[in-house]
Amino acid sequence: MNISLMVNGEQVEADVLPRTHLVDFLREQLGLTGTHLGCEHGVCGACTLRLDGVIVRGCLVLAVQADGGVVETIEGLSDSGEIADLQAAFIARNALQCGFCTPAMLIAAQDLLQHGGVPSREAIREHLSGNYCRCTGYQAIVDAVETTAQAREASR
């Protein structure tokens, strides 16, 4: 099936199988390997990306469902500089070890931060509970998100 969509600001036309999910399409057909797969059934959150401005689990979305849509992945969010401060906070706080969960974790965290204000640690933990991390134990991630929220609030 032919689909046409915007991926990280670039118009993409592609031929996909109806059963191909969005992440396989991004990874295998577009070479965007920053979006990861941890379970392929909607549990671990490693495949989190933005579709039409909303975060979704890319493994639960078929590529054909993104036809006509706007997809933003970690590659796009990095190049645009939208989450540069959050990425810097993750690095400074060592909020990633193997880094496999990180692109999705950043996108999920940015989704929370976009609501503005400084969320409580509990709210951060709650929001990120759909994103598994097997390495860090989460505290450093919570710290990095909290620090970013505070810095953004202070510069508002």
């Binding site: 941890g38 671990c44 490693a46 598994y132 134990g137």
Partner: protein
Amino acid sequence: MSLSPADLPNSYIGRSVPRPHLARLTQGRGLYVSDLSLPRMVHVAFVRSPYAHAEITRIDAQAARAMPGVVRIVTGEELAAFCTPWVGVLAHLKGLKSAPQHPMAIGRVRWQGEPVIAVLAASRAQAEDAAERIEIDFSELPPVVDVMAALDPARPVIHAELGDNLAFERRLEAGEVDAAFARSDAIVEKTFTFARHTGVTLEARSIVADWNAGEQRLTVHLGSQAPHMMQNIIALHLGLAEPQVRILCQDVGGSFGIKVHVYADDMAVAALARMLARPVKYVGDRLESFVADIHARDHVVHAKIGVSNDGVIQAFEIDDLTGIGPYSVYPRTSAVEANQVVNLVGGPYACPNYRARTRVVFQNKAVMSQYRGVGHPIATSVTEGLVDLAARRIGMDPVQIRRRNLVADNAYPCASASGLKFEALSHHASLDKLLAMMDYPALRAEQAALRARGIHRGIGFASFIEITNPGPAFYGVGGARISAQDGAAVRLDSTGAVICQTSITEQGQGSGAIIAQVVATAMGVAIENVRVILGDTDNTPYGGGTWASRGAGIGGEAAWQAGRALRDNVLKLAGTILQAVPETLDIVAGAVVDADGGTERMRLSELARIAYFRPDTLPPDFQSELMATRHYVPRQYPFAFTNGIQASYLEVDTDTGFVRLLRHWVVEDCGTIINPQLVDEQIRGGVVQGLGAALFEHCQYDDQGQMINANMADYLVPMAGEMPDIDVAHVVSPTLESALGAKGAGEAGTAGAAACVSNAVNDALAPFGVEITEIPLVPELILRALGRA
């Protein structure tokens, strides 16, 4: 050396320097094995056994061969011509037996998930489609599932040639155990049960193997912790010479011990690449990870402690039984965890009377082997559980009984009842620090006040010891070709940049960062000028890799020695250029300076320029050497023991059985700390893995040997919302064996987390007289113990 590394000017030792390369990973620019794609690459999907124990009576792949994209379909018999079987035994684990294991089953399957047929196709999806069309007839055999059943003569023997299902047995007797129990005022006897769980690395195991027939070389991209070990083993079983195999370990999506073993499916992929003479890629899907990755634990420990009324522990006794699946895992075996349990029980305490037995049995479940903490969580849970229950019997506070029995901080060097040698530990200093951090009296007061309102909170402690920096005693003496030493090669390039090749590997711990810190400090250069190369058997010194908490202590020391050696070479060259005595010079911030006064004499970039481009200006008999290589292995002690103590504060809902973790504290002593932030994050990550085991993680099997929760939705792992903040502090007792004095820190968190949670749950439920000695502490278990299920 007069100066300790941390005292050097501009030292990076002890500083929380951010890891290089992290930006790449935050931007989605990592290169994990699952991301790789090579020209002519084919994908493999395995047809795995749906049964725990069965004969394969017929295979029909006719329809599958005609499916689109299919390149080849290979059976176990066919692949056997390309890969010899292996047996996972080690000579020093006396009596350990196992059977030859092939990459794919031949004739009989022995666990649900064992690879049976490989389907190679242009895409993974096509390989899976074809795999569904393969017909295999199985004739089911009765499975051995429960560890208790494995030794029952009425149950089948999994490998007839071995005679029975007992893989290994070890007994240990120290001191006067019977007399010690006889004089005890109180004896506690309990059975501790530890569920099977697994690593659930977020990136499933992945491999790309590429046989280049033109070069007659196999390049294997693999997230292994031990590249040289894998080089040896793949070469050995594929009938190649070691130099014909190159292992590349780049970004790895988590490991924790899961990716240090030899897996049947990985060996199959290497052999398939050879067979097809083209790159073959395998990425485990999550469903197969649960039955194909090693599992861990699965112990039932009958245990006993004797204590006198004054709180002195008189004796420990354990009888451990553990199930390892149908094969002992190659080459590290599946008996090491049980062996560790025997070695470690009672380890923090000054009690000479100890009797232990462990039995390791075969069963028709997924293979079991070493995972983060190896034996420590079992030994710590048993020891600390017994100590708390003993304290309860004699009416003593858990802190008090530990104070009375922990080995005194001034007693070192000394040995445990099981013969472990301790250079210097700090149990009491650690306990003091922990109590201050948690404000113990205030917590007890809060607990009492809340209890009066029907809120049940508990406080639990767990002292522990941890084996780190293993020398050859772990594997080498048993005949495994797993290097005990590590190496580092450090060189100065023409611009003054420093490059270090190290044999340790990176799975996210920060190996690259600590090597850079050590080399920068040893050399006297800015860390930005140091680049670290690791994870490539073609381009690093030969060595063991990163496992058993050895990266910093062994690999770090090799890097230190290499950096110092290169520094000496540089100063020799500088002395020649500057007509100065090398001993009067030093290197600070990338420049040669006068040791006395610090006046800059020349930049390293200028020195390197002369060495490489204008050696004609140097005396004719002088040859500069701007690369130095050193290796290191500890000699004095077989292991560098670390110690620590953890505490948990939690609340148990006695109506629902839910446990809510409130706080967690850790004090540990890993000697010299190279990077405090990295150590703390290793501890936190390790604690949370231990908390997962304590509360959620469980590979559940039915009585037919089917894992019934082999998916991410039903196998629970810790999520951000359920985990507490974890306070970490340190006592520092460096090992005097090495210049750096660093010991390992990667497993300490996992060693004690479950033990202190169990103790805290029992503390919370003390008013109900409940004593639970089983993990995971799921709500049903707690409600059952409360008589409310």
